[in-house]
Assembly symmetry: C2
Homo-oligomer: 332 residues x 2
């Protein structure tokens, strides 16, 4: 079988140049393009859909790597991402994170993807390093690892988290609990930092016994709220790492017969569609998740279209407090 | 490049046997498996995805066609389906249904998929016909179209729906409303039929003014419950086409200040994880959705492995009533 390496040898160029030339990349001179096309024709090199995947590296498939497909956050992310990619001529291939970074990287690299949207939570993962070393383009979604630069979309959490925390303080809360996200997630540590620094302006802290740490999931919120509310001196408010965690906390409060916000206030982050359900009415921090998901898709396609030479883009989506019914004054 | 045919020659087996052996299929004896693995190792055969696509016509990608990615039903379907496929060496590629059947079929056929899991709702779609005519294997998930036979997994809804309806009658409900699913969905029409025929045994009907028809979504349940509950003579119970519809109905009831089940009972179908939330406590009909999703994945892989000659398999998952807190006796 003729490969792009054969074409490269005959044309006297590198294999990546063959890829670029056959993709009509503007980075390749007209002369080189012609030479490559002649070599390809002479060798009978056919860039079939699958053949092209092997030879010039285009499959029009983009992987999405998530931590947990059953998490509502991803439900509301996948749909707009899928639609945006589809309208740009790309398919979305799902991948979930395993504990072993190496195996995930191998899967992503062996699966003939053009690029990967990284929506996993860990900032300490070696995955970005491995993807960069193997030349696989990727976009950070709602996260960023400092070790490797790449295009990114993130929430500008400061304004919304500060607004939320100031409202908590203004209502008179001083016994503040928190169900925090994973310690190695940039989003979680960022939100925690803003919460703590804003509370500190009023001399308020989240004491260790009122800080529960876990995943960004329902089970964490449920277990965390149980733990915090069953203490002798429970918090008057529980700040949750995100909405899904808050759903868990709200359900734990219901199960324990605690009124929200009468006995305890509970807040979220993300403003997912369920947050506005009349049955939940969650006070939370909002940003435009759909727009962010669509933007990640278009940054990915831009990167694939214009190549690795372009400067990286880091886009931020502003956040703000959305007041509903789960945050009120403390009852004690 | 070493292909599976080379491995087959060296091992003295057929090429399909190589595929099966390397996937650890139970249909291959331990001895054959070892012989094939030795041959593969000796030849340095690397089953890269794209290489496999070219050499044996396999991409190891399976499409999943759904109606609405943001629907919680699909959230809880995609995760187990993805995991089952991954463990069998396949990737899941997402597709959503557009209004134009022809375009969907073209997309599915042009995208180098090995097969498609059809989880869309319409039974009157031409899609199965087009897929069959072009030789694309597919499995019906939670639906079936009579025009074209294929492997299928479905809920055996009769037992659960009958149990639910009998319980509704036993509690004394006679003014029964329903938020029904799409008229062209086999699941919806089947559940409606069982509801009506079981009610008929007690001389009870769902009158036209208490039957609201729409999609399998939150908005339908919300709008439907508003419509039914704002009537002069509202129903004492609203039977919803599925859990997601029931979430919408429960939220409409809350918004209208109606107690559930005091003022109105509300029931679902599917028993999704949210149904057991202390805040919802939805009485519903349960079946093993995860097992059904995994089974669809393995039927798909079996079909791809053993070819079109095998007889079609139709698997049914039993259903039963799960009583929680949203169904009680009528207050009038």
């Amino acid at each position: 079988m003729v490969t792009s390496h054969d074409v490269a040898r005959l044309a006297g160029v590198s294999q990546p140049t063959v890829s670029r030339a056959l993709r009509d990349s503007p980075k390749v001179s007209e002369l080189t393009r012609l030479r490559v096309r002649e070599a390809a024709t002479a060798l009978g090199y056919v860039p079939s859909d699958t053949g092209r995947a092997l030879s010039v590296g285009r499959t029009h498939r983009v992987g999405l790597l998530v931590t947990d497909l059953a998490n509502q956050f991803y439900t509301h992310t996948i749909a707009p991402m899928h639609h945006a990619l589809e309208s740009l001529g790309y398919q979305l291939v799902l991948h979930t994170e395993a504990s072993d970074t190496g195996r995930v990287a191998d899967r992503l690299l062996s699966n003939s993807l053009d690029g990967v949207l990284l929506a996993t939570t860990a900032t300490d993962s070696l995955l970005p390093v491995r993807l960069r070393d193997r030349g696989m383009p990727f976009v950070y979604f709602n996260r960023r690892a400092s070790a490797v630069e790449a295009d990114s979309v993130e929430v500008e959490a400061r304004s919304g988290m500060r607004e939320l925390t100031e409202r908590i303080l203004a209502l008179g809360h001083r016994r503040v609990g928190a169900v925090l996200g994973p310690a190695n997630a940039s989003t979680a540590s960022n939100r925690e930092l803003i919460l703590r620094s804003t509370l500190a302006t009023a001399g308020v802290t989240v004491p260790d016994e009122l800080a529960f740490r876990g995943g960004f999931d329902f089970a964490t919120g449920y277990a965390g709220a149980h733990r915090l509310l069953e203490q002798d001196d429970p918090p008057t408010v529980i700040v949750c790492a995100n909405d899904v965690v808050a759903y868990g906390a709200l359900n734990a409060a219901r199960e324990l017969g605690r009124e929200v916000p009468g006995d305890v206030s509970i807040t979220g982050f993300d403003n997912l569609p369920e947050a506005s359900w009349p049955l939940l009415q969650l006070t939370t921090v909002a940003f435009d998740l759909e727009a962010m998901a669509r933007r990640a898709a278009s940054l990915m396609v831009d990167r694939l279209t214009f190549g690795p030479g372009e400067p990286y883009r880091h886009e931020w989506f502003p956040s703000h407090l959305v007041e509903r019914s789960t945050l009120g004054p403390p009852s004690r």
